[in-house]
Symmetry: C2
Subunit: 253 residues, 2 copies
C-alpha cells in the first residue's frame, strides 16, 4: 500500500481526495491545506494539517494547487529526497524544488466544484524524473482510473494546449450560442441535445468525418446570411476565422 500526503484544497484537490479516499491501494494519511474548511466534508479533521512542520512521512507527496503556487509549496516542504509530484498539465517537472525526487500526475479532465466525475475513464498522464519512481505513479493512477500512460513533458504540453481547444474554447462557443439565444428570446435548452450529440459523434467518428455545416459545404450564401445576421463584432470575427479554418482544413485533406 502506498502512503500519500496530498497538498491542496481547491477543485482538483477535492476531487482527488474523494477518489483516493475510496481507494484500497492508497493510504491518504494527510491533507495539507491552507484553507481546511473547504475540505472538512471530505476527510477526517485529524488528517488535515495547515502547518508544514507537521507533515508526515509518506511514499508520495501530491501537490494539487494552482500552477503559480506549485513552486512555492514544493520549496516549503521540510524534507529532501522524497517523491513529490504535481497535478498540472502545463507545468514541467522542473517547477518542483530539486531537493526532492520529482514527478507529474496529471488527470486530463475539467473539474467543477460539487459535480462528481467518474475517474475510471479519465486519462492520467504520468512522468517521473527517476525511473524507479514511475511504478509508484502507476500504482496511484491504476487505483483510480483505467486509463494512464507515460507522457513526456513535451507531449503533456501538447495535450494541455489540445485540451484548451476541446474544452475551454469549446465551452466559450457554448457561451456564444447561449448569448445568441438570449438575444433572440430563445431558451438555451434548445441547443443542449445538439451539444451532447456533437460531443458523442466524435467518440466513434473522427472529427473530420463528423464535420457538417455551411463552411464544410462551402455554402457561401448561408455563410453571408449568418454574417449579416451577427451584429456583435467579436461574434462576427470568430465566425469568419472559424469558417476560414474549416474551409482551409478541408483543402489540406
Amino acid at each position: 500500500m502506498i502512503s500519500m500526503v496530498l497538498l491542496g484544497s481547491g477543485n482538483v484537490a477535492q476531487h482527488l481526495i474523494t477518489a483516493f479516499s475510496n481507494s484500497s491501494a492508497i493510504d491518504l494519511i494527510q491533507v495539507v491545506a491552507r484553507n481546511p474548511k473547504s475540505i472538512q466534508h471530505l476527510i477526517a479533521s485529524n488528517k488535515i494539517c495547515s502547518d508544514y512542520r507537521e507533515i508526515k512521512k509518506a511514499d508520495v507527496y501530491l501537490i494539487a494547487v494552482s500552477d503559480n503556487a506549485i513552486a512555492e509549496v514544493s520549496s516549503h516542504l521540510p524534507f529532501e529526497n522524497r517523491f513529490v509530484a504535481h497535478t498540472s498539465g502545463s507545468m514541467g517537472l522542473e517547477i518542483l524544488d530539486a531537493k526532492n525526487r520529482r514527478g507529474v500526475f496529471y488527470p486530463l479532465q475539467t473539474f467543477t466544484k460539487n459535480k462528481a466525475v467518474n475517474f475510471k475513464e479519465i486519462p492520467i498522464c504520468l512522468e517521473s524524473e527517476q525511473p524507479t519512481d514511475y511504478p509508484t505513479l502507476e500504482q496511484m493512477a491504476k487505483t483510480i482510473s483505467d486509463v494512464y500512460q507515460l507522457i513526456s513533458a513535451e507531449q503533456r504540453k501538447a495535450l494541455h494546449v489540445a485540451a484548451v481547444f476541446v474544452c475551454n474554447f469549446v465551452n466559450h462557443l457554448y457561451q456564444i450560442g447561449a448569448d445568441i439565444c438570449e438575444d433572440n428570446n430563445l431558451s438555451f435548452e434548445l441547443l443542449k441535445p445538439l451539444i451532447v450529440e456533437t460531443a458523442q459523434k466524435v467518440q466513434t467518428l473522427a472529427p473530420t468525418a463528423a464535420q457538417t455545416g455551411p463552411a464544410k459545404r462551402k455554402d457561401t450564401q448561408t455563410i453571408n446570411n449568418h454574417l449579416r445576421f451577427l451584429s456583435d463584432d467579436n461574434q462576427k470575427e470568430l465566425y469568419q476565422l472559424l469558417t476560414k479554418s474549416i474551409i482551409d482544413h478541408g483543402k489540406k485533406l
Copy 2:
C-alpha cells in the same frame, strides 16, 4: 391520422423516414427520391417514387433536401393549395413556391449517416404561413419528439447561427485537438472523456459558470507558453482570438 409524402433521400430525409415510419400518428404514404437506392433499406419499394407526376394526395408534403434544392423541388410539385413544409434551419418560408400553403419543420440536430439519433429529445422548430396549418405541424412533431415549439423566422435564423457555433465550430475545435495530438504522437482517445464532460457540464451549469482554463484565469504566463508552443499560424490565430473573446466576455459580466 396525418398522411405524409416526404421528398428527399439524403441524410436528414433518411432519419425522418425512419422516425415517421415508426409513428402511429403519421401515415408516410410515399417518398419522392431522385436516388431511390439510398432509401430502399428504409421503406417498401412500392412507396418510393421518382416521378413528380406520380405524387399522391396527402395532408402534408415534407421537403427534406439540401437548402439550395428546396426552391426547385417545391416549384416542381404538380398541385396547388396543399400544405408543403421544408426542414431547413437557414431558409425562410418564402423559399417555397407560393402556389402551396407553406411551413417549416426544422429538427435542431446534427445528423450523420448510419448513426441513429434519439428523436425524442430533439427540439423541432415549427412555423406555418397559415395558422390553420400549425396543428398539423404540431401533430407531426409530437409523434417523434417531446420538444417542439413555434419559432419565428428570425428566431430560427438566430438558432441556426447559434447551432453553427455549438456544433460545426465546436467540431472543428475537436479537429484541431486531434491534429495537435497527431502531431505529437498522442492518441485522440485521450481527449474523448474531456470532450464528453465539457458537453455534459453545460447540461446543468450555464456556460459562464462552467468556463475554466488559462483565459478565464487571465493566466498570461500559460497563454504565452501555449502561443509559443503552437507553430501553426491558423491554430495560433484561433487561440489568440478565442482567448481574447473569453477575457472580454468576462469583463461584460
